[in-house]
């Protein structure tokens, strides 16, 4: 049993807002849902499967199903942080393959910017029943200093440099200049990144993604339905997921969960990293990109710094164009969760609808990769490989 070819992405929508103080989170979910359905040429009444994660207000899919007045026969609310939307799209493809639903809707939305969340530099509240709570809360692990610890160890083991980390941001900024919605559309240099203030050693401010409001949605359908629709069909051919944790205190922080999720997806798709024309790689921080590229097999473990240097991720310049919308580093990071927008830009590339300045020629095979929660302790990982028909 495989999802290969059993489900198509028929509609996508990215909310244009980056600051939404006058909208509710539920409203943003509904707006992106209707946007993706309109893109697909479908209506709300066609939806019989709904997939959402922890950003959806209310318990699992229940409150949002009522708000949007959906009538469902299948639902899923997998929560693996920012990686959730790639996993949910995979689960939607599985449900479609099994006949559990015909038209699946995946939504993401949030307003961390309007709500003033210091999401990177303050510890996030956690459930006291989480088993790790007694052993971690006093130490103030935050998003920024956790990912920074991974970067520090990667530098120690492999000689990765701050200049190499900076190249990830530089490439993203080259793409963002063409995106009218990008929060940070200005092209930056390696020096700009190194001269920005240190947040948590060795990560500078420009090594960190933006905080934005907004959202996005994906509509997936059975192949028979895809054939009746007008948008260029994008076929899901491989998916993988994993949770990486501290394994009882014996771990290596230079590897992400993509080390397991990636090979599963590549095996199902029957392709190799060398076949991929475009990659959307979750870029919460510059180090996140380097580690995932290594783990996915785009280069050897430890060679990620050299791989991203000198513009190798810039569309039209380097060998592996990535995050051509500007990514989380420059464009947006709705709900502090990055994998939805990763799928959206991959679909644009496969449709040939990315900005002409960043569109990859003959883009017939793309990958989207997400990481969720804390790279330095426990995180989810999800990989999806998509093909243009």
């Amino acid at each position: 049993m495989t999802v290969r070819g059993k489900a198509y992405i028929a509609g996508i929508f990215e909310h244009p807002t980056r600051l939404a103080p006058d909208k509710t989170v539920a409203q943003l979910h509904a707006e992106v849902a209707l946007g993706a359905l309109a893109d697909a040429g479908l209506t709300r009444d066609d939806v019989d499967g709904y997939f959402c994660s922890g950003d959806a207000p209310g318990p699992g899919p229940v409150s949002m199903a009522e708000y949007m007045n959906l009538h469902l026969r299948h639902m899923d609310s997998t929560e693996i942080g920012g990686a959730s939307y790639i996993a949910l799209a995979a689960h939607a493809a599985e449900a479609i393959a099994l006949g559990k639903c015909d038209v699946a809707l995946v939504t993401l939305a949030g307003r961390p910017r309007s709500e003033g969340m210091a999401t990177g530099t303050a510890p996030r509240p956690r459930d006291p029943n989480q088993p790790e709570a007694p052993w971690e809360a006093p130490y103030a692990i935050t998003t920024a200093n956790g990912y920074a610890m991974c970067a520090m160890r990667h530098m120690y083991e492999y000689g990765t440099t701050s200049e190499q980390l900076a190249w990830v941001k530089v490439a993203a900024s080259h793409h963002a200049q063409h995106n009218p919605h990008a929060m940070l559309p200005k092209v930056v240099t390696v020096e700009d990144v190194l001269n920005s203030p240190l947040i948590a050693d060795p990560l500078h401010r420009l090594d960190c993604c933006v905080i934005s409001d907004g959202g996005g949605a994906i509509v997936l359908v059975r192949p028979e339905i895809a054939k009746t629709l007008k948008r260029p069909p994008v076929k899901i051919i491989g998916t993988g997921e994993a949770v990486k944790h501290l394994t009882g205190g014996t771990f290596n922080l230079t590897t992400s969960g993509a080390w397991r999720a990636g090979p599963i997806a590549f095996a199902e798709a029957g392709v190799t990293p060398a076949d991929i024309k475009y990659a959307s790689i979750y870029d919460s921080f510059t180090i996140t990109v380097i580690m995932q590229l290594e783990d996915l097999g785009f280069c050897a473990k430890g060679a990620g710094g050299k791989f991203v240097a000198d513009g190798n991720l810039i569309s039209g310049v380097g060998k592996l164009p990535f995050n051509t919308d500007g990514g989380g580093l420059c464009n947006n990071h709705p709900a502090n969760r990055g994998s939805m927008t990763k799928v959206l830009e991959a679909v644009r590339q496969l449709r040939g609808e990315a900005h002409p300045a960043v569109q990859v020629k003959n883009c017939d095979l793309a990958l989207a990769q997400g990481t969720g929660f804390q790279l330095a302790t426990r995180h989810g990982s999800a990989t999806m490989i998509m093909e243009r028909e």
């Binding site: 007694p134 809360a137 160890r153 240190l198 050693d201 009882g248 205190g249 330095a376």
Partner: protein, 131 residues
């Protein structure tokens, strides 16, 4: 850059699985869970061994010695501090803070020793300083 020792620490949650540990911490003792079925120490502590799934886990007093596996100086906050993973002499690696030193002198591989710092509620939590 000096690291502030006065940073207000969020109190650890005292649970059925953590109480013995923090009771010992009040006496300045660092305990570590060791499974008598597979003879391995683990972190974070739990009553079911994560390696062999046995419930024959016992608390032992640890040496309090370790080395820094990785760390980061959190700078963009009112009171900078150092987050770290420290590999204990007994094997497992634990999340902690490095204190009692200049932040610019901290290095991966550095030898460290346990010190206890009181959290907000007066419960001491283990941190490490250069040995």
């Amino acid at each position: 850059m000096a690291v502030f020792a006065s940073r207000k620490l969020a109190p650890p949650v005292i649970t059925a699985e953590s109480k013995t540990f923090f009771d010992a911490a009040r006496q300045g003792r660092l305990l570590i869970p060791i499974c008598t079925a597979c003879d391995r120490a683990h972190w974070y502590p739990r009553v079911i061994c994560p390696f062999c799934a046995s419930d024959k886990v016992e608390w032992r007093e640890a040496s309090g010695k370790g080395t820094i596996y990785t760390f980061s100086v959190m700078r963009r906050v009112k009171e900078p501090y150092i987050i770290a993973h420290v590999t204990l002499a007994e094997g497992p690696t634990m999340l902690t803070n490095i204190v009692g030193c200049d932040a610019d002198d901290v290095r991966i591989g550095q030898a460290v020793a346990v010190v206890f710092q009181d959290a907000d509620t007066g419960v001491p939590v283990p941190m490490f300083k250069p040995a």
